[in-house]
Each structure stands twice: as structure tokens, then as C-alpha cells.
Subunit: 452 residues, 2 copies
């Protein structure tokens, strides 16, 4: 029952697909969970995936299709006619999954598939859902849900729910609407289980219901569901009419994607990739920030070039260039990461910009002093140069303070102007701090040389 994907299994399966041992295979694979079959598909060629699909039962094939990686799915659907897509897959799907998959098709093919769908309710639901942006509540919701009217009796309720439930995989909550379809509450299954005969919805329902509007964005929805520990969240239109529901499994994916995106941004990767992507995709995702770093390096060279005379008098200054650059970068990444994470988790509280910068100043000052004293001692002992020791340690504390403040300020500003604050982490902040750090270091070295 609990399946583990191994290299041996894949190679056996490949042998079966290329040979004619299909009877065995058919028997075996259909018993796996669709998510496992999707994982298997990731390891096969497009041709093998197509062969494997022919061995799957219709219903399982549909569930697997939903779980596939986008590129594997695209290759599979490319070879099917719109009629096949509609009848073999879309007709068996929930509206939200169907809409997600339709959104990946070309406009032309999309229209053809829609007109080939036999279930006209589903077709109209899909057309509705395709109107919403993919990452809005409307784009995430499913139209299938169980709703009862406030004035129904328990008996009528159960009868209607039986009708509605045939369409729905998991019943989490029963929504209560008024006679204008406006959402006014929920009815818990537990209440229903415990209710005495003869009750009406009005006696049993719970008035307090949290909902989101259809245009609400996915990150907002994720933070609501996370904060209030919700498993399902109803979606309403502008008039508060119930139009769909979002389930936690879709939101878990959103939370994961948001976290992955921020992580990749902080690591200098510009689009969502994983290690199985092609060399071309990986290179394209990584090159942009490397070019930013390259530009930063060239600017750094220009800064040092400005102080060539200082460097000629104090050649030892070259020794600590990497130290100054690295420390500025590290501090900047730390302080910006704390802000970016605070913004993402809504945990920043109410301090204003100046309080925040004041606090960061203290943290950076403390860290800076510790590092600076250590490097002062090292330089005095091993380099035996008071000027160099003074230059490096003064520059270091200033660089750490600047980098800390800059790393705090930039993401807050980006967020204020509704740019993704995660842009401020990673190579951008390191590169900026490298350049400013060199200015500070050589500026102080230059002053030392003038004074001493």
C-alpha cells in the first residue's frame, strides 16, 4: 500500500513498457496512488508515459493527469484530440482541477475542448473559473460544494445533500445560504450527526463564517487559512453570494511555492527551477543574477581604481578587500531576510521605519563591534600595522552598520511600492553592499593616509 519508488522499479517498468508484458503491469500500476503514478511518469520518456497511460483505468488516468508535472502533462495532452481530452479526462474532474488544466492549453484548443465536454454544468463552471486569474481565490476555488437553505428542514436538508454529495469527493463543511444565495453561515457535520429529528437548518447553523472575495490573492488566502487553521474556505462574489470553496490542499501548494520562490530569490535564482530541469533552463534561471554580480564586480573594480594611489602606499589594504566585501554582503542578507520573512508572515508588528532602523542599528553595532575588535587584535598581532588595524576595524564596523540599515530599508521600501521585497535579498543586496563597503574601506584608508 505504501509505495516506494526505486530505480529498480522504474527499470522493470520500462522493460515491461517496451516488451509485451503489459497484462501484469496494468494490474500492478492501477493499484498505486495517482500521486505515485505521477512520480513514476517523471522518470519516463514522453513515449513511455503515453504507453503507460493506455494501461490505466479512465478514472485513475484522470487523477494522475492532475498530479503530473506541467511539462509532462503538456507533452501527453499534445498528442490527444480535444474530444479525447474532454471525454477521457475533463468530464471526470472537479471544476477547479479541470480549469487549471484547461488554462494550460492554447486558446484554440481550449475552446475546442470546452465544446466537447458532455456535462454542460461542468462546462459552464469551467468557463466561469477561467475568468479569474490563476492565483486569485476565483482561480483556486472549486465550484462543487454542499449548500443548504436556511429555511430547510433537516429531512429536506439530508435529501438535498445526498443529491449534491454525489459530485463531491470530500465533504468538509455544509454552507448555509439565504434565499438570495448569500452565504450566511455553516452547518457542521458533527451538529448534523448529533441533531434531534425535526430540527431545521435555522436551529442548527453557526452564523460566524469566514469567507474571501473572488479577487483575493493566493498569498492572502494562505495566510488566512494558516492563521485560523481552516481546512476549507468559502468564496463569495461582490454581493456575498456563495460561488465556490477553496480547500487546504491547494493552499498547502501555494504556501510551499511562496516559500520556494523566496528561497530561490534569496539564492539568486530568477525562475522556479529544480535540479531535474534541463541545462538550458537551469542556465537561464541562474545567469541573470550572475550578470548583476558581474556588473557589481566591475563597479567594485572602478571603486578600487579610484583609490589606486592609496593602494600603492598601503598595499596591505588589498589583503582585506575580500573580508570587507564578504561581511557587508553577509550582514545585508541577514537583515533583509528578517524583514522579508516578517513581511511574508505578517509578523512585523507596528514599529515604524525609524524604530526598525534604530533597532537594526543596535544589532549591527553590537555585531560590528565584536567583529571589529577581533579583526583589530588579529591585525595588530600578525600584520603589525597600527594604520591598517585602525582602517580595517573602523571600516568593518561602519560597513556592518551600513549593510544592516540598507538591508532593512530596501525590502521595506520595495514592499511599500508593492514590489516583491524578496528581490532585495540575495545577489542584489550583496552586490550593493560590496560596492558601498569598498567605498567605505578605501575612503577610511585614504583618510588614514592623509592623517597619519
Amino acid at each position: 500500500m505504501q509505495f516506494e519508488l526505486t530505480k529498480e522499479y522504474i527499470s522493470e517498468l520500462k522493460d515491461c513498457l517496451h516488451g509485451d508484458l503489459k497484462a501484469d503491469l496494468l494490474h500492478e500500476v492501477n493499484k498505486l496512488h495517482p500521486a505515485d503514478i505521477a512520480d513514476i511518469s517523471d522518470e519516463l520518456t514522453a513515449e513511455e508515459v503515453a504507453l503507460l497511460y493506455q494501461c490505466l483505468d479512465d478514472e485513475i488516468a484522470t487523477d494522475v493527469l492532475i498530479e503530473l508535472e506541467e511539462d509532462v502533462r503538456e507533452r501527453l495532452l499534445r498528442n490527444l484530440t480535444p474530444k479525447e481530452i474532454a471525454e477521457n479526462f475533463i468530464d471526470n474532474m472537479d471544476s477547479d482541477d479541470a480549469a487549471d488544466i484547461m488554462a494550460e492549453l492554447s486558446d484554440e484548443k481550449k475552446d475546442e475542448v470546452i465544446s466537447a465536454i458532455t456535462d454542460s454544468d461542468l462546462a459552464s463552471d469551467i468557463v466561469d473559473l477561467l475568468l479569474y486569474p490563476e492565483d486569485s481565490a476565483g482561480g483556486l476555488m472549486a465550484k462543487e460544494l454542499i449548500k443548504v437553505r436556511i429555511d430547510w428542514t433537516l429531512i429536506k436538508c439530508l435529501r438535498e445533500m445526498r443529491k449534491q454529495a454525489t459530485d463531491i469527493e470530500n465533504v468538509y463543511t455544509i454552507y448555509v445560504v439565504d434565499n438570495q444565495e448569500k452565504l450566511i453561515g455553516t452547518l457542521s457535520l458533527k451538529k448534523l450527526l448529533l441533531a434531534p429529528d425535526g430540527s431545521t437548518v435555522k436551529d442548527l447553523y453557526f452564523e460566524d463564517v469566514r469567507s474571501v472575495k473572488a479577487y483575493e490573492m493566493s498569498d492572502q488566502i494562505a495566510s488566512i487559512m494558516e492563521k485560523y487553521d481552516l481546512v476549507v474556505l468559502p468564496v463569495v462574489d461582490e454581493l456575498n453570494r456563495l460561488i465556490g470553496r477553496i480547500t487546504i490542499d491547494d493552499i498547502v501548494d501555494v504556501i510551499k511555492e511562496e516559500a520556494d520562490k523566496d528561497y530561490q530569490m534569496a539564492s539568486g535564482i530568477s525562475e522556479s527551477v529544480d535540479s531535474s530541469d534541463s541545462v538550458r533552463v537551469l542556465t537561464r534561471a541562474r545567469l541573470p543574477w550572475l550578470l548583476v554580480g558581474l556588473l557589481g564586480g566591475v563597479l567594485g573594480a572602478l571603486v578600487i581604481g579610484q583609490y589606486e594611489d592609496t593602494l600603492q602606499i598601503y598595499p596591505e589594504m588589498a589583503l582585506f578587500i575580500p573580508l570587507i566585501a564578504a561581511m557587508g554582503g553577509n550582514v545585508g542578507v541577514q537583515s533583509s531576510a528578517i524583514i522579508v520573512q516578517g513581511l511574508a508572515n505578517n509578523s512585523l508588528g507596528f514599529s515604524n521605519l525609524f524604530q526598525r532602523l534604530g533597532k537594526e542599528f543596535l544589532v549591527a553595532l553590537l555585531n560590528g563591534l565584536v567583529c571589529s575588535i577581533l579583526i583589530f587584535i588579529y591585525t595588530i598581532i600578525f600584520k603589525d600595522s597600527n594604520e591598517l588595524a585602525a582602517t580595517v576595524s573602523i571600516a568593518l564596523v561602519l560597513v556592518i552598520i551600513f549593510a544592516g540599515l540598507f538591508g532593512t530599508f530596501v525590502p521595506l521600501m520595495l514592499d511599500k511600492y508593492e514590489i516583491d521585497p524578496a528581490l532585495a535579498t540575495g545577489p542584489f543586496i550583496t552586490t550593493m553592499n560590496d560596492i558601498v563597503g569598498l567605498f567605505i574601506y578605501f575612503g577610511i584608508g585614504h583618510l588614514m593616509y592623509l592623517w597619519l
Copy 2:
């Protein structure tokens, strides 16, 4: 209903708490969601939180307690007697929440609270749960669940379920066990809703049930629930006897924490902090990696010191020190991040180490050649030095390739020896690549000087 926390609200509330307008306040705050009240508590002093608590209804106070930040909760509980904690809070909680809160108490206080719990079933459940590590299935699960025996009739089933359901907030799944309490399947509420009278559990239940053992760790559980889109997952003991269930809301927190931890690690922050923590905590979280960076800087100085003669002949080489260091760091962070994320998401597939390094070699070579050609052109044009241009561009491509391979290799090795691969991202990899990068750069510069 949908509450937004504002600065004005907090200051009004503070005025109320310090004045004697409590009647109004009591009325108002009790209507908010516990998670919102917990957010409010984050903005208050310990004294104010204690005052606010006196205004809350018992049941709400309990729910709020569960939602509080650990440090706020600790301060609040410190001033209560074990009897108060047991009777006002623990008695009203689900076993999993109760055990989580008990785990935060000192051993002595824990024992006193347990003996003060009036509900003896709950007390024994809590004692059971406290045996498991916090981040294992046993530590995450709640003991409350609905289970039915395979041989029961639908009528008996409903009667027993009514009894069991009074304890449980959300009924997701009904578990089916045999007469030795072994988990053998599930009964969906939908099936139950649609079942004809006179059915037995045996006719209706679904045999295929995914479960975890009590010792399974939280990251494994998260990836199972995420992969199979589960809302609730049963926990069994070694003999496959049903002992509890884990709900998705707890797992969403695990997913969030894992992602935050990796992000902080990549940003050079050594313990979980957020911007509202004290200056002391923030400094302590950030200093360790800065000291690593400092050590790296000193080692970098030693490397450059080795090549002082080269630097005297080619003083322009100093110009590109930041570029070489920065590029090595950036590439290393990119390649290690891709591996760390692949390991976290179980998406690495089956390539072996050499295939992986081979692919990274290609990606790094491509990126390296682009950057290297650009810097060659720049140096030829603006610095007018063939030797420098050759040195920088050859060094750059080698540094990028080395950093890419090293960034791929280290997290894979750490993972193999069961050390958290996320350690390999952030300051560690940047620092290592800085040092090696400088060796490569000056080594090539030295050879150029010997040859040309």
C-alpha cells in the same frame, strides 16, 4: 467579523486595560477569533496580557492560550498555580494542544498540573502523548478521533459516533478498526450520508488507508500529507493499532517552519528569530555566521598575502578581487540552493553523484563562459592589459565551475551523513568559495607572470 489589527485599536485597548472601561472591552474582545486575540496579545506587555485574560470567557481564553507565541504564553502561565492551569485551561483542550503546552512547563510544574486535571481520560492521554518526541507523529497527533468497529451496524455506528463526536471539534474521517483495535480502513461521511438503512460498516468501508507509525518524523509526515493531499492522517503503533490522528493544520505549521528554517539558514541566521525579537536575541542569532565570514576574510587575507609579490608586479589584480570573490559566492549559493530544495521536496530523482556533478559542470561552464567573455571584453577595452584580461577571465570561468561543483557536492555529502544539508548554503559556501576563488585567481595571475 473579519478583524483587522490596527495601531489605533491596540492603543484604545491599552487605555481600556489601564482605565476602568472593562465592561465594554470584555464585550468586544470575546467576539474576536482566538487567533486575533493572540495577535493582540503580542502587542501588549505581560501585565496587560494578564489583565486582558481576566476579561475572557474560559473557553475563549483556552483557545487563545493555544494560539499565543511561546514566550507570551510562558509569561502568562508563570503567574498561575498548577491547579489554575489545569482547571481553567488544560481541562478544556484537545489532548494534542494540551500536551504541547504541558511540554513547555518545567518537569515539576508538569507533574503538579497533571495531577490537578479533573478529566482522568484526558490526563492519561496527555501522559501518553508526552512520551513521544515533539516532532514525531506521536508528538503531533491528537488522541481524539472517531472510530467504528468493522462488525457494527449503521445504527450502532451512528449511536457510538454521536457519543464520540461530543469530544471532537472537526470530524474529518471515521476510522474502521477490527476487534483488536487494528486500523483496517475508513468510512467516509459522504458514504454514510448516502448509505441505505440496514447497511453495516463492512458494506460501506474503504479498505485502502494510509497511516504513519508513531515514531515517524514531522518532515516525512508533511511530505506524505502534501503529496497525497490528505487533510488528516491516522497514527498507528507497531502492531498497527490506531492510536491517534494528525490534522493538516498542524502540518501546515511544520511546512512553514521547515521552509522558514531553510530560508534563515541560507541567509546566515543561526536560530529561528523574527524582527520583534530583542536586540540580544537578534545579535546572538546573527553573530555566529558573521564570525565564520570573518574567519573566511582572514583566510582570504592570508591567501592574498601569499601572492604579495604577484600583486606588486600586477597591482591591477587588486581591482578584480571583489568580482572573483562575489561570483564564487553567488554561484555556490545557487547550486547548493537547488540541491537543498531538491532534497527538501524529494524531487532529486535517481541521478547519481557523477551525473549530477556532470550536469552542474555544464551549467557552470555555460554561465562561466558568458561571464568570462563579458569581463574579457571589458578588461581589454577599459584596462588595456592582455595579461589582466586573460587572468581575470580564465580565473572567472574556473571559479564559477569550482563553485558550482562544490555547491552541488557539499549538500549531497551532508545529506548522506544525515547532517542538515541547508548548513551548506549561505555564509558557509560563500566563505569557502571566496577563499578557493582567491587561490585560483592569484594562482593564475602568478602563472601569467611567469609565462608572459
